[in-house]
Symmetry: C2
Subunit: 179 residues, 2 copies
């Protein structure tokens, strides 16, 4: 499939899940919005779960590059800031929160791929930090990411509070400087 | 309403949301399972969102007492351990994950009350720690809770990985001892 057409299908998928939730997402609805035949979609993705899973990982809308600012602190602040924007700034936040919320109830929608894909890129932040002598080799990168990204989810989604402009700096400082 | 009857209604509500999801939860279904008339439920809670919101905060199943172990480290480890059990040990975890996942898509189901109620109790952990000289007065208790509880959610729910037995100790150590 042409990459542009694929992105249009992912785009339609993510917008539909944001508007109607996972239960309201249908391959027919995606096909109609993207202007393709639904058999075309089924040829590539066997189910709506597979389609949404692929869209989460491969859509340009949720594309993710790990920051590379030159310092561990700078990289982590940029990472948290990116998660904060992802979860609070529409229309991306409607998409991300709806799709990740749906993944909780629908294990067949494999959100683990989304997080595993991001983590594979985030690893480089920690490799560089170890290389620069800013981080012990024994540090646990996944724990650090989970503490920081989880805090944004708790604050913005579960508490329904808007993380302030200094949230990223303060969260990273709690980890790097201690509480 | 008699407290025991109220707990039966909350219990039926939480079990139904775990089994059928929020969309499958109905006041009729709860009434049937709890053996009460649905008008009785509507007299106390005007909607299924209000009923589930009340169940989240008031059910004995999700009852929460902030730990008081005598040290900040001990309290935080116990706190994280409690969240880990809540999110990973059935049947409680089915209930908690389904209800909190539903809250993401249904703001009318006010999960903020659940977190605000818990946080009001968790505050005492930090007040005692400041009193014992273990924590600066300027420390931000909500940030600490969000980092720790969010990490469990990320690991157990989004990544679908089982946090190990030492997860609580390591997460708290990352915050108290630095990374």
């Amino acid at each position: 499939m042409a990459p542009r057409k694929q992105q249009e299908i992912f785009d339609a998928t993510l917008r539909l899940v944001a508007e109607k939730g996972y239960d309201g997402l249908t391959v027919e609805g995606v096909a109609e919005r993207a202007g393709v035949n639904k058999t075309t979609i089924y040829r590539w993705w066997p189910s709506k779960a597979a389609l949404l899973g692929a869209a989460l990982v491969e859509s340009d809308v949720l594309a993710f590059d790990a920051p590379d600012t030159g310092s561990l602190r700078g990289d982590l602040v940029a990472l948290v800031e990116g998660v904060r924007r992802l979860l609070t700034e529409p229309p991306g936040s409607d998409i991300a929160v709806a799709a990740l919320g749906a993944a909780v109830r629908h294990p067949e929608l494999d959100a683990r791929r989304f997080f595993a894909d991001r983590f594979a890129r985030e690893r480089r932040i920690f490799e560089r930090a170890v290389g620069r002598g800013e981080l012990k080799e024994s540090a646990d990168p996944m724990l650090i990411v989970d503490l920081l990204a989880g805090a944004v989810w708790m604050r913005a989604v579960f508490r329904g509070l808007r993380p302030g402009d200094d949230f990223a700096t303060e969260a990273v400082s709690a980890l790097l400087d201690g509480i």
